[in-house]
């Protein structure tokens, strides 16, 4: 208790300094809480968007009614509380007013949709109205708008489906669950599950999909489910495997990949935020402790033990730290929810920025326990503190004593705690370890670089201009202090530059390509003789095909003359069992494709050529099949063998939404084989969509035409948001980093007030002091920034290599900005702080002694 009172007295006696300390630490912690909370809010927002497409977290489905064994199995894998809702869906031909159209019948229950919302013409939002109860309570249906137009129907009309007459209660305007799969591209009709039975369409032999949707608690990680499911279903169901499990992340494979990137990226952000706050807090705590050495020495002179001296100071620090954390939490609690109000136009629709409890806990932890952990290395130094130091103007523990081992060991808790936090924040042992490892290496490199630069400052200090001479000698003389400042700024700039560097690579991958437009319609099964009709039909309406590829069905017979039928197949090679491929042939790469390796062929293959015709392989496919440039592939093209040689591998821009062929031949080989065409139409005006679709269906009834505009728009909307979030998080981390650097530089200058005052007493004028500070901080800031930025390039590259599939791009702008901004900030902050120090009267100096 005595310690508490003493410590409180110390704090209030030095209340100006205490306020300054609390202010700096609070700013750092607010930055941390904001970054960490924002990260979690964004994560939540994107997850909800992705869930709206599936309408659930997880779906299981089967072609047969789900059995208890099957649902119990699925629910044991979920291993969590859940809400479930069942659905029955099938296709049926629906006739009205002399016209008929294939439709997707959906039987639903209360509880659907679990995520997202269906918008109806009359009732509006299904979630907000009681439209669902009205639907389930009678022989009512909701009908997709397309079908209403096609069959010339109106709300209130009756429609016979199977054996039952239904009343059209409402029209579906927006349905998030219209997925990208072919089957569900038919217009939907919703009804209650009991009404489905009344249609008598479910009979022996009917082709029905029975699904159960699960809603899981917030924060549940669905990503491991698919693997667990696959690993266990074989053992449980043997040859009777009928159910499949889909998580919202897998609903769109590419979207899932992007969401995973986003998840890892946000994990990194959390780490950066943690380390920034850590570097800032550690720096402030240690500096605070260092300024207290003299008080401790006095205490020890008066008979206190080193332990007591340490406790006395530690109690003060913990009190200040806790106080700062509480202030930071209160400020963040009230200001964070206001953020979306301020940037209403800038934030995605429905985005809620919430204060995360875990961020608060971490901030409190940093303020309290963090202070103890960060100050442990100094505890070990106290034992080396000699009261004789009181007679020096600047009390420092003697560094000559041989207690290195104890000293090094005292750093272990910092290391272990940050390692643990890193793993926790990034949710991954690998990323956390990688990060802390890289961080330690960076500290080593920064320390070494700083040592040599400061030594060089001594060597260059033999010049005539007094201010420069003094500045350089200051740096050289006060090497230990300068190194810790250098380390703080260097680590800061490393952390600041890391995220934008990774961001530019990710952005490149996610951003919508600008040189072509995404499709509104896909068409399959176009016969060669129908191409002219199709093109005429479109040009009449002012449109053109934006994509056209022939498609030839063939069976893979041999790889490098090794006949696959003769190869003993291991389970790993099951991939090879399905050997039917859709081949295509094309003159050059399409604009959605990029050459990965090899060369592109020129012109058509010459039959008299001794060379085999060229083959282009999609990169991922080449990897899965273990194919290299120069390998030969033999296909059975509908009973004619055709052999080609792999000339190149190519990647396909996933977000071009263009059809992707694994194997593409040089023209001149497959041309006469039986083929169909795949095509796409882009940029169809909303008003024209139905007319375009109908004219094609009427003229070419066999052609399957799928309206993908809605789903593509939805996926693009989510990726736009991800892209936006990645950018904003990068800016935020730069800003948070600069705030931390600002508080470090300010503190560094303040702690030199004694020295600056001395210069003043010795007759230095304002400008002299100013230029000394300018040079010192200029050198420190610039070199630390350059070293930090170089390290961040190396580190971001390795992070991209390990986590983001090597999506890394050097960003000149960010790099230059970081260096300039950090140097300028160091100098500017130092100068502002100097000004306030200079305002103090030299008398303070005398008082301080």
């Amino acid at each position: 208790m005595l310690w508490l009172q003493l410590a409180w007295k110390e704090i209030t006696n030095n209340y100006k300094f205490s306020m300054f300390f609390v202010l700096n630490l609070s700013i750092g912690l607010i930055g941390f809480i904001a970054l960490d909370s924002f990260k979690q809010s964004i994560d939540q927002h994107l997850q909800n968007n992705s869930k709206a497409i599936l309408t659930a977290d997880v779906q299981i489905s089967s072609r047969f009614p789900l059995t208890n064994v099957e649902t119990d199995f699925a629910e044991s894998i979920l291993n969590s509380d859940f809400e479930a809702t069942d659905q029955i869906s099938f296709l049926s031909m629906v006739a009205g007013n002399g016209n008929s159209r294939m439709s997707q019948i959906m039987g639903i229950e209360e509880g659907f949709p679990q995520y997202g919302d269906i918008i109806l013409q009359q009732s509006g939002s299904v979630l907000a109205s009681n439209a669902r109860a009205e639907l389930l309570g009678a022989n009512n249906i909701w009908v997709a708008r397309d079908l209403m137009v096609l069959l010339d129907l109106e709300i209130g009309d009756t429609l016979k489906i199977g054996a039952q007459e239904f009343t059209i209660a409402d029209v579906i305007l927006e349905d998030p669950s219209s997925t990208i799969s072919v089957m569900s591209s038919f217009p939907a009709i919703y009804m209650g599950i009991p009404q489905v039975d009344a249609t008598s369409l479910i009979q022996l032999g009917s082709r029905i999909t029975y699904s159960r949707f699960y809603k899981l608690p917030q924060g549940y990680d669905v990503s491991p489910l698919e693997d667990i499911f696959e690993a266990q279903e074989q053992a449980v169901f043997r040859d009777n495997r009928r159910i499949s499990m889909t998580t919202h992340e897998e609903e769109s494979e590419d979207l899932g990949r992007i969401l995973e990137y986003m998840n890892d990226y946000l994990g990194l952000i959390a780490l950066i935020a943690l380390f920034l706050a850590g570097v800032g807090a550690a720096y402030l705590f240690r500096s605070f402790f260092t300024t207290r050495f003299k008080d401790m020495a006095i205490l020890m002179c008066l008979g206190g033990t080193p332990k007591q001296a340490y406790e006395m100071t530690l109690v003060q620090i913990v009190m200040l730290g806790t106080f700062s954390a509480i202030i930071a939490s209160i400020v963040a609690y009230f200001s964070l929810p206001l953020l979306p109000l301020l940037f209403a136009n800038f934030l995605p629709r429905g985005f809620i920025n919430e204060m995360e409890v875990s961020s608060l806990v971490l901030a409190l932890f940093m303020g309290t326990l963090g202070s103890i952990i960060c100050c442990l290395p100094i505890l070990s130094k106290i034992y080396d503190l000699n009261p004789i130091g009181l007679f020096h103007e600047n009390v420092q523990p003697s560094s000559s004593s041989g207690h290195m081992r104890r000293h090094v060991a005292s750093y272990a808790p910092i290391f272990l705690v940050f390692w643990g936090l890193a793993i926790w924040q990034s949710n991954s042992l690998l990323i956390g370890t990688l990060f802390i490892g890289g961080f330690l290496v960076a500290i080593g490199i920064l320390g070494t670089v700083a040592w040599y630069i400061l030594r060089a400052c001594g060597a260059f200090s033999n010049m005539n201009i007094v201010t420069q001479k003094l500045a350089l000698r200051n740096l050289n003389r006060n090497r230990l202090g300068a190194i810790s400042c250098f380390l703080a700024i260097g680590l800061g700039s490393l952390l600041i530059n890391l995220i934008p560097q990774i961001q530019s690579g990710l952005q490149q991958e996610i951003a919508q390509p600008t040189d072509f437009s995404v499709p509104d319609f896909f068409m399959f099964d176009i016969q060669p003789e129908q191409l002219d009709t199709l093109q005429n039909l479109l040009s009449e309406r002012g449109y053109d095909l934006s994509f056209l590829s022939p498609q030839v069905s063939a069976r893979l017979e041999a790889i490098n003359e090794l006949v696959l039928d003769e190869v003993e197949e291991t389970p790993d090679e099951q991939m090879l069992q399905r050997r039917m491929y859709n081949l295509t042939y094309q003159d050059a790469l399409k604009n959605s494709e990029t050459l990965a390796e090899g060369t592109v062929w020129e012109g058509a293959w010459d039959f008299s050529s001794p060379e085999l015709p060229g083959i282009s392989i999609e990169e991922g496919f080449a990897e899965r099949m273990g194919l290299k440039i120069g390998d030969t592939l033999t296909f059975d093209v509908q009973s004619v063998p055709v052999t080609g040689r792999v000339m190149n591998t190519r990647t396909v821009d996933w977000n071009s939404f263009q059809p992707n062929f694994f194997v593409s031949f040089q023209p001149g080989v497959l041309d006469p084989a039986p083929k169909t065409f795949v095509a796409a139409i882009s940029e169809v005006k909303d008003a024209d969509r139905l007319a375009v679709q109908n004219s094609i269906v009427t003229a070419l009834p066999n052609v399957s035409i799928i309206n993908v505009a809605q789903i593509v728009a939805r996926i693009l909307d989510i990726t736009d948001q991800i892209s936006w979030a990645i950018k904003v998080m990068a800016y935020l981390s730069i800003f948070a980093g600069l705030v931390v650097l600002f508080s470090i530089a300010r503190y560094e200058v303040k702690s030199r007030f004694w020295e600056i005052n001395l210069l003043k007493i010795l007759g230095a004028n304002f400008n002299d002091v100013k230029s000394i500070v300018q040079i010192e901080f200029g050198i420190l800031g610039f070199f630390a920034a350059v070293t930090g930025v170089v390290l961040s390039l190396l580190m971001s590259y390795s992070i991209s290599y390990f986590i983001f599939d090597s999506l890394w791009r050097f960003s000149v702008g960010v790099t230059t900005f970081s260096i300039v901004a950090i140097t300028a900030l160091s100098v500017a902050t130092a100068l502002i702080a100097t000004r306030s120090v200079l305002k103090q009267k030299p008398l303070e100096l005398l008082r301080a002694v």
Binding site: S62, R63, F64, F90, L91, S92, M93, V94, A95, S100, R101, M102, I105, I161, G162, F186, L201, I202, Q203, L204, G205, S206, R207, I208, R241, R242, S244, F524, D525, Q527, P528, E529, Q530, S553, L564, D565, Q577, R579, M580, A604, F607, S608, Q638, S639, V640, P641, G668, V669, D671, P672, A673, P674, K675, T676, P701, N702, S704
Partner: protein
Amino acid sequence: MKARWLLLVVTLLLPFAGQAQDSFTILFLGDSLTEGLGLETGESFPDLIAKRYKDEGRSNVKVINGGVSGSTSASALSRLQWYIRSKPNLMVLALGANDGLRGLSVPEMKANLSKTIEFAQANNVKVIIAGMQIPPNYGPAYTSTFAQVFPNLAEQYQLELLPFLLEGVAAKPELNQGDGIHPNVAGTKIVAENVYTFLQAFVPPAADMPSGVTAD
């Protein structure tokens, strides 16, 4: 370019052309059911039938599996034009299921199949047409109109009709894959057995065996 391709095809088919007189070629023109979707290589029903001929020593009987997953009746004619170069003697026309599943126009499907049959007959290929049915959930009007097309065509063109390709297999979970529509290994064996039996009357016995002896 086309001429060169033809040359390639002709070269490749020369060995077959030489045997053309005493060999008998059966073309199965179909969809995923013919291709054997979801089955391993050699497990499709045309492959099983071919294996049976081989085991019986009927090496003169050739089988071409012309199944393409997802194909509709619209592609039938152009594919037959491709296969006609291997001089099939008999064509088992097993297309239409995808037209039905995708809800395509029934008259259109009938027209596509008619053109194909006419082309085959003009080229002296005997045609067997396999009847198709679609699941009852498509609605009674559509399913019955659809199923009627095949007997109608058989009557119109004097074809042999295999009443239903998936007879005894369709709608039996134990004979179908998890998708409930493609026969599994056991189901495919039944299909092969049915088709084999049906074909017996139209396929010549082994060339190197006395004509009275059949292996079955």
